[in-house]
Symmetry: C2
Subunit: 346 residues, 2 copies
DNA sequence: ATTTCAACCACAATCGTTTGCAGAGTTTAT
DNA sequence: ATAAACTCTGCAAACGATTGTGGTTGAAAT
């Protein structure tokens, strides 16, 4: 179907030169006379010649493309990150290939191998919520594939990591709820082994302890699918409200969990913030027009994507193997709205 | 950085065969004895050999990848479409490369050329809101690049197109508003030359006319950036409410416009639906928890992505040039919520 | 007039895979 | 026994771009 594009060979025959001369002329080699260079360049431009990147890839062993593996893209947090990734990649002339795991470990493995065998130059990853084992990444990395993790990272692999201040974000939000007069603060969070879960729990616990509020294990609920499955959220809310002492506030620890929880509470006719206040991690753009407007911990998603990509390209283009890795922590921002209005004491 | 992977040559020397024999054996050619085939295949598996896709691409002139050009991905409508695209592509073993125009004509052109020169096998496009001229696509198509358009399409180019029933969607929403008792229905829409704009306007006008409501040009407002720029929306709302006769309802004709309009009205302290009712096109997942919950025309985004991809792959894999193109129209769905509550007659 | 040396360019190998063709060896038919 | 037919395998040329090596020219230096 596809018809042949113009090649260096076409230019060569047309100009009565050899392909090597043309190639060198186009690259401005000193071996080629200025006159010839000008002639070649002009004709190439006129013919709208573009070097075949596949051939270049083969020759150079690099593909000038990086792959992204995220749980989902129909989620503002991740799509904002991808925006950041694209910004840098575009600038540095890398192609971006985006794939999703849909929170499935199996798809994560498949995608990783797929990208590896298609020889992308590097990988940008945020782990699926099912992923406890990262051998597939370690394997790829051993075989020379540069990888940078962001948001959901793993301790079991040595490489650059970019996260937001999950600890501080959770701490700030919890502290805010406490200051608003809430004392029985629950947390709904994602799979317990995810880095973000661990860190957000820690910040939450720290804030409680500093304010002499006992941490109640029953107030901490895990949703393995991070809010993708409404029933799961519905269930944990039911559990929370079936306790003898029910929470008066909830910290929702991830993007989808925040919106799904609000949705569920609304469907369950539980008034926010009268019956229960809410503060949550989310990068949804519409939290201001939610009912009620949602107090959120906003992550620097765009920034995170940019930073991760810069680090990745740095590894890719470094001459010598990179052995010193850093973990970059970006600040979150707490935006206070109606859902955490000061508690009425009655 | 990247270390050399195992090649067909390695297998050949190890097995004391020629590369061609190995290649043919791996493909199960009848030219190669069953015995040799077995030997080769086993060794290849043992060595975890993977053919270098770049070399294959070069040879075959195909890259088994399709590129997507959308205005934005941090928008549920488009990210849902991409989900659909990915689903089919994954199944058919195509790579998906996603790029954004950010509604810029210039970036659209650049992306198109970029993809063309990187020899993707096909292109899936939804036009930027700045795009009036589609020569860049026509050029690429002439040179053999299969293209399928979705959502925002152009009449100036002959190829498969997949859209939703914009006409009917707008008609339904407008009719609904009329039935709820609203008579002065405005429309806030995107750039006037976009296909979606034209069609949605037509449906809206049809519904008005059928109900003997005169179409008021002053009630039709265009936002060139489709809600990406809040000020633009703010301005048109101001204009609408500065009229001697102000609207009692607004049909917002695109995803971002719907949410931005609601946001602006809320900031401007204009009560919905008391002062003005709202119904809008959007695929935002959270419209149910908006304040007020939003009456929406939901598009079959996932389906649209799947269909467009199927058509594209059909062209790519067809032996003979495709000359018969179809335009597929998928049904929208109207979901009624609070923002278009029946008008109180007082 | 011969040597020297730039300047300019072409040859050919290379990246890894695929594939038409030819050749070697074996079997069958005459 | 010889020709024909068939099996199996290897050679070599592609795909398009890059690059080290080496060859040809002309002019300057001896």
């Amino acid at each position: 179907m596809k018809q042949r594009a113009i090649t260096i060979k076409d230019l060569a025959t047309a100009l009565n030169l050899s392909t090597s001369t043309v190639s060198k002329a186009l690259k401005g080699s000193h071996e080629i006379s200025a006159e010839t260079q000008a002639k070649v360049k002009e004709y190439a431009k006129q013919q709208n010649y573009r070097p075949n990147p596949i051939a270049q890839n083969l020759r150079k062993g690099s593909s000038k493309s990086i792959a992204v593996i995220v749980p989902n893209i129909d989620n503002n947090f991740f799509s904002q990150i991808i925006n950041g990734i694209e910004t840098i990649a575009f600038k540095k002339e890398y192609n971006v290939i985006v794939t999703q795991t849909h929170e499935s470990y199996e798809r994560e493995v498949r995608n990783t191998q797929h990208h590896f065998s298609r020889s992308v130059d590097g990988l940008l990853v945020s782990l699926s919520s099912e992923t406890e084992n990262v051998d597939h990444f370690i394997e790829a990395q051993k075989n020379g594939l540069p990888i940078v993790f962001f948001d959901r990272v793993s301790d079991q692999i040595e490489t650059h990591k970019v996260i937001s201040s999950n600890y501080k974000g959770a701490y700030d939000a919890t502290l805010h709820l406490i200051k608003q007069g809430y004392k029985r603060i629950a947390q709904i969070t994602s799979a317990g082994f995810l880095s973000i879960t661990v860190e957000r729990l820690a910040g939450y616990i720290k804030a409680l302890e500093e304010n002499n509020i006992k941490v109640d294990e029953q107030f901490i609920k895990y949703c393995a699918h991070g809010g993708m499955i409404k029933e799961e959220v519905h269930e944990v809310i039911n559990e929370l409200f079936a306790l003898k002492v029910t929470p008066d506030a909830i910290l929702t620890a991830s993007d989808r969990l925040s919106t799904t929880t609000l949705d569920m509470l609304s469907q369950m006719k539980i008034k926010v913030p009268e019956q229960v206040a809410i503060a949550g991690f989310t990068n949804s753009v519409n939290t201001g027009i939610f009912n009620p407007s949602l107090t959120t911990v906003v992550q620097p998603a765009f920034e995170m994507g940019k930073t991760a990509t810069e680090l990745l390209i740095q590894i890719i283009e470094s001459k010598r193997p990179v052995t010193q890795f850093e973990k970059i922590i970006l600040d979150t921002e707490l935006i206070v709205r109606e859902s955490s209005r000061k508690k009425k004491v009655n």
